[in-house]
């Protein structure tokens, strides 16, 4: 199910005696929307991602993904919610080094019965869904599937990470600087493939980057500095 995101009056600080890092009166993403969030390092980006993923909890305010209030769930319920409904892509080193290409791509299905079920529904099996997505990401499985994942190029690794974020159709994909380690060609290819799959499944996409050149590709652009009134200087990257 495609997910919307709503943040209202969110305040976050690491400790009571430290400055407020995030202070977001309102931030919303509609279901199926593809939004570009720009933010320089130090704008509270990582903290926002941890809040959306349910890894961190705001001191005040509500964080809703779909119809669930993450701030009202227990920490293990947030972990389960994340496994079931959110796919993540990070900047680099996205893969578990000791798992195969396919295992890396289907990893969320090991932790989420819901995503395993959707993978089964969509492709007839968890591994089939992972293989289908890897193929859609332009990875030649005949050639690559036997190789250790750390032997893949960065571009290939990021495409495996994208397949993982999409496996079992989570409904919300959050990408954190997924292209900043890639060269021009790899970046274009990665974005084309990612957008193709996001569109095919009508997933919500939150794409965080400081690279403003990518902005025109998205439905909407939000500068984190505009929505966040939190302290600038003290924020961790």
């Amino acid at each position: 199910m495609v997910q919307s995101v709503d943040l209202t009056d969110v305040k976050f600080q690491w400790r009571a005696d430290q400055p407020v890092i995030l202070d977001i009166p309102t931030f919303s993403v509609a279901a199926g929307e593809r939004i570009f969030v720009s933010g320089a390092s130090g704008s509270g980006k990582t903290t926002l991602l941890n809040l959306l993923g349910g890894v961190a909890l705001p001191q005040t305010g509500s964080v809703a993904v779909g119809d669930r209030r993450l701030d009202q769930l227990s920490s293990s319920a947030r972990d389960i919610f994340r496994a079931d409904h959110i796919g993540f892509i990070f900047q680099s080193f996205n893969l578990v080094p000791y798992l195969s290409l396919v295992e890396n791509a289907l990893l969320p299905c090991w932790f989420s019965d819901i995503r395993a079920g959707r993978a089964l529904e969509r492709s007839g099996g968890v591994e089939e869904d992972a293989r289908r997505l890897l193929a859609r990401m332009g990875l030649d499985m005949d050639e690559l599937s036997g190789r250790p994942v750390m032997d893949l190029s960065i571009g290939q690794q990021q495409r495996v990470a994208a397949a993982r974020a999409l496996v079992g159709n989570p409904g919300l994909v959050i990408a954190d600087e997924p292209t900043s380690s890639l060269d021009e060609d790899a970046r274009t290819m990665f974005l084309d493939l990612l957008f193709g799959e996001i569109e095919a499944d009508a997933q919500t996409l939150i794409f965080v980057s400081h690279d403003r050149r990518l902005e025109p590709l998205f439905d909407r652009h939000v500068a984190l500095s505009d929505v966040n009134r939190g302290s600038r200087d003290m924020i961790a990257s």
Binding site: T46, A56, S76, A83, F90, F93, W110
Partner: protein, 420 residues
């Protein structure tokens, strides 16, 4: 926990070099643990099998352990003898079923010589109720017949009919020998796994015969008596060193013991062999326990090594933990992953140790038996050994808590993104 069961073996396999070293360290320690335990058990069993069916051991008054040592184990020497008359008087007690007289003090090329009589072959029992069996030949019949223990015959290569010269005293090579009166091997006993195997048995008359022309520990040059003439003489012994007693009823044990201990003609000591064996074993128990403790600590060292290996991997695995968190792993998954890895490593170590133990057992078995008279059977692991193996795995899992907590704390601090 299913995803963790899938991840742990793959994670370990990816670090197979360091993991193998940890497994090997635990395997070696487990092999030592099982080896010490097995030898301990077998030694204890073979020890308590040394003598059975004997109700009392009687010797000159000393301590129960020294008496047991020189009479049963043929270690050390008696402080005094028992006169033949006292022996006959006591042995006539109607409650006594049989006695076996022992006369000790000589040796043959390092093996003790025991003077006794035919009752020895009839009444002596070891390992619960086994009696002595001849592997070749017959018990002694003539004054100069000798019956060899299995190990004596094997070590010195004797066969029935060979000549044996007895040395005076019990030094490894006696400075004086009874070479004027050689003995003939009349029989060889079957293997028993007891000190009997290392004993040369002759008749009491034989012992008397070889000493008849000796005075004060040396041959009396002026009174030589040759082997043929000695046969004609009265060879009834004047004294013996000890004797074993079998009672008609076990209920008489304490009253007969008291009677012997209160014997007026000379100070004697009667002991219950089971009690004295226990006393002796508890003396050796210290060394035995020390050995066991050392093996426990070696296992602990192996497990600490494994925990260290897991601890040192924590930093390089932070990103892996962050990825797992991002795909939905809960903190309990992160914790269990490390515990499970610890359990796998210690479990594989225990299994490898068990294998090494059996390989070692097969390799060492002949040497243990030949050199120490210790027969270690190769059978299934005992329940104690099974408990040890389980304990090693559990201890491994417990030691895994330390790296697991470390991983958990780092993972909770990092969340889904590792900050550098």
């Amino acid at each position: 926990m299913m995803p963790i069961l899938r991840l742990a073996p793959k994670s370990l396999a990816s670090r197979r070099v360091t993991v193998s070293f940890s497994i090997f360290a635990i395997a070696v320690s487990v092999m030592l643990l099982l080896g010490v335990e097995r030898i301990r058990t077998e030694a204890r069993a073979s020890f308590s099998n040394t003598i059975s069916g004997t109700d009392l051991v009687v010797g000159a008054r000393s301590g129960s352990v020294p008496l047991l040592l020189y009479s049963v184990f043929r270690i050390g020497n008696a402080t005094n003898n028992i006169s033949w008359n006292s022996y006959r008087t006591l042995a006539a007690n109607p409650r006594i079923a049989w006695t076996i007289p022992f006369s000790l003090g000589d040796s043959h090329r390092g093996f003790r010589v025991l003077g006794t009589n035919a009752d020895y072959f009839e009444h002596f029992r070891y390992a619960r109720s086994r009696s002595l069996k001849m592997a070749a030949g017959r018990p002694f019949d003539d004054v100069f017949d000798a019956v060899l223990g299995a190990e004596v015959a094997a070590a010195l290569g004797y066969a029935v009919g060979d000549r044996v010269v007895i040395d005076h005293g019990v030094g490894s090579i006696g400075f004086a020998s009874h070479k004027d009166k050689p003995f003939r091997v009349s029989g060889i006993l079957a293997h028993t796994g007891t000190p009997v195997d290392r004993t040369v048995h002759v008749s009491l008359e034989g012992i008397e015969a070889i000493h008849i022309d000796w005075r004060g520990g040396a041959p009396d040059a002026g009174a030589r008596i040759d082997a043929e003439r000695v046969r004609q003489m009265n060879l009834q012994p004047r004294a013996i060193t000890a004797f074993l007693v079998g009672l008609k009823s076990r209920f008489a044990t304490f009253s007969v013991q008291r009677k012997i201990n209160q014997f007026r003609a000379e100070p004697l000591l009667a002991i219950l062999p089971g009690v004295a064996l226990h006393e002796l074993w508890s003396l050796m128990g210290t060394a035995e326990n020390a050995l066991a403790f050392i093996s426990y600590f070696v296992v602990a060292a192996g497990i600490i090594g494994m925990a260290t290996m897991l601890m040192s991997s924590l930093n390089e695995r932070r990103r892996e933990m962050a990825i797992l968190r991002s795909v939905g792993a809960r903190p309990v998954h992160i914790f269990s992953l490390f515990i499970l890895e610890a359990i796998f490593v210690s479990g594989l170590g225990a299994l490898a140790g068990l294998t090494l133990f059996y390989v070692g057992l097969v390799a060492a078995q002949p040497a243990l038996e030949a050199q120490y008279g210790l027969f270690v059977a190769i059978g299934w692991p005992t329940s104690t050994e099974g408990i040890y193996l389980i304990a090693v795995v559990l201890a491994g899992g417990l030691a895994g808590i330390i790296p697991a907590v470390g991983a958990l704390r780092r993972s909770l601090a990092d969340g889904m993104v590792v900050r550098n």
